[in-house]
Amino acid sequence: MSAALVIVKETRALIRDGRLWGLGLALALLLLAMLALGSQRQERAERERLDAENAARSQWDHQGDRNPHRAAHFGLYAFKPQSALAAVDPGIDALTGQALWLEPHKRNMAMYTPAADAAPTLGLGGLDPAFVLLALVPLLILVLGHGLVTQERESGTLRMLQACGARAGPLVLGKWLGLCAALGLVLGPALAVGIWVLAAQSGWSAVALLAALLLYVAVWAALAVLISALCHRTRSALLVLLALWVAAVFVVPRFGASMVERWMPVPTGEAFWSAIRHDIEEGLPGDGNARQRMSTFDAKLLSDHGVQRLDDLPFGANAKRRLFRDAYATKVYALHFDRLWQAQFQQQQRLRILTAVSPYALIRSVSSALAGTDLAHRRHFEDAAERYRERFTTLVDEWDVRATRGVTSAESRYAGDALWQSMPPWVYEPPGLGFALRAAWSDLLILCLWLAALLAGLGIRARRLKP
């Protein structure tokens, strides 16, 4: 008996099984509804972001006459754009701030996390398309696939097949492929519609997500057939698979994350900000404290220009000193923020190791990377915003250096709309597919290893399959 025959037989059998259509269509409809809701939410959020971005920029552009430094403190805001795929997997977006305030001297953290404003929930994550695809589709696979081998055994057909000389290898392989084909039949149209709509905006990322999902479905289908081949009773197979599903989706990733948080803590806000304050005030090793650094700089300024007082300098002394001070502060901020990001990426790495036993945890990393809602994309955005902060505050101060002489009062208003409008706009270009794949390649690789291991397991089990 060839594997092709088994595939056709299994696909036909599953198509005749009411569960495939009942549960599969219910899931497909739920997926489409979630996708529609998610897309609607994402579009609304993008509209809101664009409105706020334009309004904040317009406020900046039309401040009127101001002291340039005080205007710089009024600042600009950076808002992270959402990709179309964020409608599928919102990732960490609900737990990160929505707006970054860009101002001189200080590097801020993003403010206003949506989770803080959310209505009370169970605390198990939202019911979004990612949950339907990554958690509920495997459940459907288990429900459909748990009895594929056990039922043959319980009804005695396995013994008959073996008596007819059918080899077990093609049999289990056919069952696996048949299950995949049946799933493709019922979920394929919903997935294709969803991805087709999203691909218009997300391009190859949507296609890559579809490919990753197919790999994921294949892993769960192989697991279902393997457990079915290992168990003697259909009910036992279902219960074992159910336990594995609960462990993979809820227990392993959540315990893993909590363990990492406890074993590799990041500093508290109080410690983080006070370390930055300390390093700016007292200086990094070998740099001297802020007062010493400033007096050395002042002395050099005075001697370079052959004057005795800052007031006599032929350019804006305050702005020149601020440029020097802020360059140092930026260096300190970069150092501490880099450390914080490194700590968070190390946590992610450790989590990856701890949760490699869960295909669900792996695919979550892949899907959030492709949707641009993972940690790596967050850092990319915040780093870009920081570079822009440095640029616009430097430009304001450089103008101030040129436009004034000596020491000026912070109360005097000598800059106007022309200066504000000359600042380059904040344009954020999200990274492409290559960046997402680099962020998630190890998860994808482990997922491939999972499939290879399960298929090898199926092969080994097939050789020992007893009726």
Partner: protein, 432 residues
Amino acid sequence: MSALPSLNLWRAEGLRLRRQPLAWRALGALLAVLLAASTWAGLEARARHEAGVAHEVRQAERLREALQQFADAPPGPATAVATYQLGRGDLGLTRMAVGDGLALGVQRLKQLPTALKASLDSRHVDARSSGPLLNPLLTDTGLPDVPAVVALLLPLVALVLCTGLLQEEGEQGRLGLLRLQSRRGMGAWLVAALGWRWLALCVVAVLGTLPALLLGPGDPAVAGPWLTALLAFCALWVLLGGLLSLVSLSSAMALLAALGLWLLLTFIVPAALVWAAQREAPMPSRLAAIVAIRDAQQHSEDHEAQLARAWFDQHPDVAAHLPATWPASFVVRVLDQEQRLRPLLHRFDDSRARQAAFVERWAWLSPGLALVLHGERLAGVDTASHLRYLREVEAFENRWRDFLVPHVMNRSGITAEQLTGLPRFSGLPLRD
């Protein structure tokens, strides 16, 4: 025929359950997960309590340092600036008070601002939280609170134990025999079977979650209302499993129906309630609020001189120093911004309160959600408690500013003696 089982029936069903290895494995796995989750939560709650005590000690130290700093400071502009810096500093830090059952809601705290600072600056654009810095990835995927773990897993085990009881007997050809043997009818038999399962689940749930409350810092008496809710929750799911046993389905289909019921009540109904709550009380846009905040900042910048004059008019006891310069000019601007923005910012709290009220009103549709909300109330981290904290911080900030602003505006600063009357935040019922 009485539906109450006889003693022999109780014994027989107890024996049958004892001999089901699958049931013991499911119960054992549930106990292991609950024990781990609740131990974790208990330790986290204890750590938070200790951090709270350390915070109190640090605040006392900061106050001592401030008293020393101002002891020899002569009145004048420099002391006024120092007073301003003190008013923006960490002395104004607060911590949200929590309930005795903190261990039942310690994870929820991570998503809420619970360490706000009263300040002479605007708190609403402060992007430098003193609270814990959290990796959003770990917060997103980390352990939920103990009630959520119970709400997630206990129903599954209850349904595995209770669904298909009758159907299996029928499929294995024992139903007729059972009918013959059950002198008091099948009802009594089902009551005995479900009763034992309920008891087993209760023991596991109680043993599994008690460490959270015992290890946590609160009064163990909070265990009473928690355990009552837990027993009712177990009873409900056992009952649902029992009802599914009575439906004329095969045992496999009954199990699938149970799975569907679990998905519906644990995921779909809560998500639908949240969706409906958002429609009932839409949350204003935080991004639009930023634009409003900037408008208020612009307005106060444009009217700085008038604002300072108005402030001195309202405080004739403070000698007017006009035109106001930094930091006095900044302080009046912040006060003006606050006055303009509070109604807008209260709209967020109102929406949250209305959404929470909506979800609470309909939570009975999802037993798991109802259990989680009960746990949050016992932990003191429910929406109402958090909104109360926000109001307390606001009131404290008013007192803070009323006390410090005159000392900034008078260009003399505060004295050490006056500093002893610095307002304290009173919302922290910590026990040692």
